[in-house]
């Protein structure tokens, strides 16, 4: 190489390069140091923070819903339990062509053509590997129809999930309530964490009031997920310690209901509108609580279509109304035994004083006629006959003599005008009218005055007085126990998942006091007279002929509207919904009562004809054995009819068979 005069100086350039190489080396070292500091910060200083983030990334907590507790009747008959339901689910990433698949499902009738857009939206809103329900509530027929063509629909499959099932369908629905989708209004009262993994909650009845006990405690499972949230099944060292907490199943409810009596009550009511409440008067157990028409609670658990809900909600027979707790009716003549007890206790009358009954009653100085019905007993009647044969004229006069204050004070201890405190919600208090109530309730001053006629009406359970079937069953129970008073209850025990049963003690209320044994005997014997024939026949003697036990009862006929002064009530000329309601209260066996019943049949006319046979059937079902003999009090339970044998209409809110 030639070193010329040119400016290029190789030696100097070599030095320059070496200098630059050293400089670069220093820069490299500096940059590497920066990098190491950064790595130190990440991996040493902030290790805990990032380790936690990494753990949170890969572990997802998935709730395991607890199995809901069963509901059993007093003899262990299953009233509500879990049942697998079938639904169609679709996994998008396994479906080759979503539109074609949906069209195919429409063609074989799995989804309705007007639902396609909605279903599509639901599918696309979820991750591709999620299994999205696209058709709930598949019938066995649907399952079979899809099963034969399953191969045409990759990515679509039938899945089962647990739903609430009620083997007896409509039977007892107003006591049980139902399980339905959690609604906005439920949210404030529940701990949403406890409901993760469930979409259902108890509504109405014991399903609602014992929700906490039935629900149980959710378990959870930690699952390993990848970045997409897809569960991965990588066992081995990548899997951290994954915790699983098993759920604790809800407690089983043991109800006081006797399914045999319950079924009898619902069958006896049939397609008529009405209610039956039967109590064990010795402890308040609700043996039967029926309100017709009913509805199938299973529908709500599996999801109700809009049309199905509308048909229930808008049905004129109001199948959703719990008539036993919320139906408020005039008590009719069922009030007479209670009035008699009050009058006897207050010495307004004596049992053997006779009153001339003419079929009409006028207040002194008034021309207003208080009419009695056409079967009204006439002539001289003592108190017993007036009760057994249900004389209105006798009780018009008696009420008028007693006065409203004494009547109201005497009725209150029997529970009129207040709730019984049954252990399900929704109960209404009825109405015990008083002058003070009337003054407060009406606007116009002339309406606020309590007039003597109001008292007279109260004597036969008409006018402003309103009671619920549950209240009257409670009254019948108090009468049967000569004043002892137990709070009605549906749940008598809780059974936890280990099988331990915790019995709930009956709650005794304040006893109706001050009534002498003689007066009890007088009135209770008069009630026995209602169902039998002696010197005269009681109003319900026909319905209790041939009975294997002695029943005590009282009929009632509640007027829905007031017949004009000079007109006669003519059932066939009155629109059905304006006809009288039929009442019957009873207890049996009279000498040692084990069941007290109240029956109401809406717009059915006389209590004896329409309501008493229902009470008889319920009491027979509870008290008699298979051969028709009275069972001893401690007899072993008998199985109720199987669900399939139910004769009650299975159509929600069906029209009554007879007008």
């Amino acid at each position: 190489m030639v070193r010329g005069v040119r400016i290029k100086d190789h030696w100097k350039e070599q030095r320059l390069f070496e200098q630059r190489a050293l400089l670069s080396g220093a820069a490299l070292a500096l940059l590497t140091l920066t990098l190491c500091v950064r790595l130190y910060i990440l991996q040493v200083s902030r290790f805990d923070y990032y380790a936690q983030l990494s753990q949170g990334n890969r572990v997802r907590i998935e709730p395991i819903p607890a199995a809901r507790g069963l509901i059993l009747d007093r003899n262990g008959v299953l009233m509500a339990g879990g049942q697998p339901a079938y639904q169609l689910e679709l996994v998008r990433e396994e479906v080759p062509d979503l539109n074609a698949t949906l069209k195919g499902l429409v063609d074989i009738g799995m989804i309705a053509s007007d639902e396609v857009a909605e279903v599509r939206k639901a599918i696309l809103s979820r991750r591709g590997f999620d299994s999205v329900p696209i058709r709930l509530r598949m019938s066995d027929e649907d399952v079979a129809r899809f099963a034969v063509r399953r191969f045409e629909f990759p990515g679509v499959d039938i899945k089962t999930r647990q739903t609430r099932s009620y083997p007896y369908g409509e039977v007892g629905v107003h006591a049980l309530g139902y399980v339905g989708a959690i609604s906005e209004s439920d949210l404030p009262r529940i701990d949403t964490a406890a409901y993760a993994g469930t979409t259902l909650i108890g509504k109405l009845g014991v399903e609602s009031s014992y929700e906490n006990e039935l629900h149980g405690t959710n378990g959870y499972r930690e699952i390993l997920v990848n970045a997409e949230g897809r569960s991965v099944d990588k066992l081995g060292a990548v899997a951290p310690q994954l915790h699983t907490e098993a759920p604790t199943a809800g407690q089983d409810l043991i109800l006081s209901i006797d399914m045999k009596a319950q079924v009898a009550a619902e069958q006896a009511l049939g397609d008529r509108r009405g209610a039956v409440v039967a109590l064990d008067p010795t402890n308040g157990d609700v043996l039967a609580l029926a309100s017709r028409p009913g509805f199938d609670p299973t529908l709500f658990g599996r999801g109700l279509t809009r049309a199905e809900y509308a048909s229930l909600a808008e049905n004129s027979n109001k199948p959703l109304l719990n008539r036993a707790l919320r139906g408020r009716y005039p008590s009719g003549s069922t009030i007479k035994p209670v009035l008699a007890l009050i009058a006897l206790t207050d010495n307004v009358i004596t049992a053997d004083r006779k009153v001339l009954c003419t079929g009409e009653f006028h207040l002194p100085g008034s021309r207003h006629m208080f009419r009695a019905d056409k079967d009204e007993p006439r002539g001289w009647l003592d108190l017993s006959e007036a009760i057994s044969r249900s004389s209105d004229v006798y009780f018009y006069g008696l009420a008028s003599t007693m006065g409203i204050d004494r009547i109201a004070a005497g009725l209150a201890p029997f529970g009129y005008g207040k709730v019984t405190g049954i252990d399900i919600s929704g109960e209404l208090a009825g109405l015990l009218p008083t002058p003070a109530w009337k003054k407060a309730s009406f606007k116009r001053s002339e309406e606020q005055v309590w007039v003597p006629g109001d008292t007279v009406n109260l004597g036969v359970g008409q006018g402003f007085l309103l009671v619920t079937p549950l209240q009257l069953a409670h009254v019948a129970a108090i009468l049967s126990q000569q004043g002892r008073n137990f709070r009605p209850r549906l749940v008598v025990g809780l059974r936890d998942s280990d099988g331990h049963v915790r019995r709930i003690a009956p709650i005794e209320g304040e006893r109706v006091s001050g009534i002498t044994q003689a007066n009890w005997n007088t009135v209770l014997n008069a009630m026995i007279g209602t169902t039998s024939c002696g010197h005269y026949c009681g109003t319900a003697w026909r319905q209790f002929t041939g009975s294997a036990y002695t029943a005590a009862g009282k009929t009632g006929t509640a007027q829905v509207y007031t017949v004009a002064q000079n007109a006669k009530y003519n059932a066939s000329a009155t629109p059905e919904t304006m006809r009288d309601h039929a009442w019957f209260i009873a207890f049996a066996p009279a000498e040692a009562p084990r069941i007290a019943v109240a029956v109401l049949v809406e717009n059915a006319g006389f209590g004896a004809g329409a309501a008493a046979p229902v009470a008889r059937r319920v009491m027979d079902a509870y008290l008699l054995d298979a051969s028709g003999k009275l069972k001893p009090a401690d007899a072993p339970p008998e199985p109720p009819p199987a669900p399939g044998e139910m004769l009650v209409s299975q159509t929600p809110g069906a029209q009554p068979a007879h007008p």
Binding site: M1, R6, I7, K8, D9, H10, E13, Q14, L16, F17, E18, R20, A21, S24, G25, L28, L31, T32, T34, L35, C36, R38, L39, Y40, L42, Q43, V44, R46, F47, Y49, Y50, A51, L53, S54, Q55, N57, R58, L224, V225, N226, A227, E228, V232, K234, A237, V238, P240
Partner: protein
């Protein structure tokens, strides 16, 4: 024998250790895919072949073809751009039927070769007119790559050329002036940007502001590195990598897999290996005997380090995310062949030094 093959023993050992380390990590990072590892071994074999061949080539030949290689590369970049325009889409690849390759990869070598060729006969440090011409030589291919768009490779080409100029003794005050000028241009340009463009730049600079978009990669990779701790979670036990939280886990973000599974210990070990290779390469370049060889060899050594630093800095959240693979470890054939070809050139320049100019 190594000398007969014109190879440098220490450098070969360093590269080999990095490659083996990389294969071990790749097996885990690919989700235990043996196929991926085998393909990567094939890439290594191809790269090693390129290195072996280039190590035998006379540096004078390399020197002579430098301008032609550069011109050929520029031509290909224009072809790619034209195809991109016709195909109405981003275009980096040239499909030759049997193989597809990125002309931008040629430029990673052709640009420093061209710069060294241009400077070899000129007095150093380079004069201002020379610098202007060098700027054109570097910015033309870099610009063509950036508009492909491939910002990462464009930046690397720029860096490879600039490092030649730096090694040629570019005055520190000119470097400072250039940096100041760049800063000023950026500051002025900022005010001409639309809001959405500003946002895009800010997200590029600080990905954490967009945790589901651009920030997702960097958040997951810092979690992976950080949760690895000092000794790591163990081979094939990195949950971030194995459960696919970490994107690009076997390619651009494989550095985070090492951090997660082998911890700080594993990363320092890797950096030591890289440091050894770069140090040896710098030493070799200082031993070469003429300007062309020195500048080219020095640039290749430094470029290698720049690759490592940009990738590690990006994965650990120090630098914005640009698509730069981790040398010899990231899965991929193109960068493997280019890098090993570069080392082949370096070995040729060193081992033929007595032939130069004689």
């Amino acid at each position: 024998m190594l000398l007969a093959l014109k190879l440098d023993g220490p450098l070969l050992v360093g590269l080999g250790l990095i490659a083996v380390y990389g294969l071990i990590v790749l097996y885990s990072a690919s989700g235990q895919s043996l196929g991926t590892v085998i393909r990567q071994v094939l890439h290594l074999v191809m790269g090693a072949a390129a290195m072996l061949v280039l190590a035998q080539v006379n540096p004078n030949f390399l020197r002579r073809i430098s301008p032609w290689l550069y011109a050929f590369g520029i031509f290909l970049l224009f072809v790619v751009a034209a195809i991109g325009i016709v195909g109405k889409g981003a275009q980096r690849w040239l499909d030759l039927g049997i193989l597809r390759f990125q002309p931008s990869e040629i430029m990673k070598l052709a640009v420093p070769m061209m710069c060294a060729w241009y400077l070899q006969e000129r007095p150093l440090p380079p004069s201002v007119p020379s610098l202007l011409l060098l700027a054109l030589i570097i910015l033309l291919p870099a610009g063509l790559v950036v508009i492909q768009p491939d910002l990462g490779t464009g930046a690397l080409i720029l860096m490879a050329g600039a490092l030649v100029v730096v090694m040629a003794g570019l005055q520190l005050r000119i470097m400072a002036a250039l940096l100041a000028l760049g800063g000023l241009a950026g500051w002025l340009g900022w005010h001409f940007l639309h809001d959405y463009q500003k946002k895009r730049v800010l997200t590029f600079m600080d990905p954490q502001t967009d945790p589901l978009g651009a920030g997702y990669h960097i958040i997951q990779s810092t979690i992976a590195i950080g949760s690895g701790g000092v000794f790591g979670k163990g081979w094939m036990n990195g949950s971030q990598a194995q459960l696919e939280f970490l994107p690009e886990r076997s390619t651009d973000f494989i550095f985070a897999v090492i951090g997660e599974e082998f911890g700080l210990f594993g990363l320092i070990l890797l950096l030591i290996l890289y440091g050894f290779v770069v140090g040896r390469a710098l030493y070799l370049s200082a031993q070469t005997q003429d300007t062309f060889a020195r500048l080219l060899a020095g640039s290749l050594a430094l470029t290698f380090f720049v690759y490592v630093f940009i990738n590690a800095g990006m994965v650990s959240g120090l630098l914005p995310v640009v698509g730069v693979p981790l040398p010899l470890v990231s899965y991929g054939g193109t960068s493997m062949v280019t890098l090993l070809a570069g080392f082949g050139i370096l070995m040729s320049l060193y081992s033929h030094r007595k032939l130069i100019g004689s």
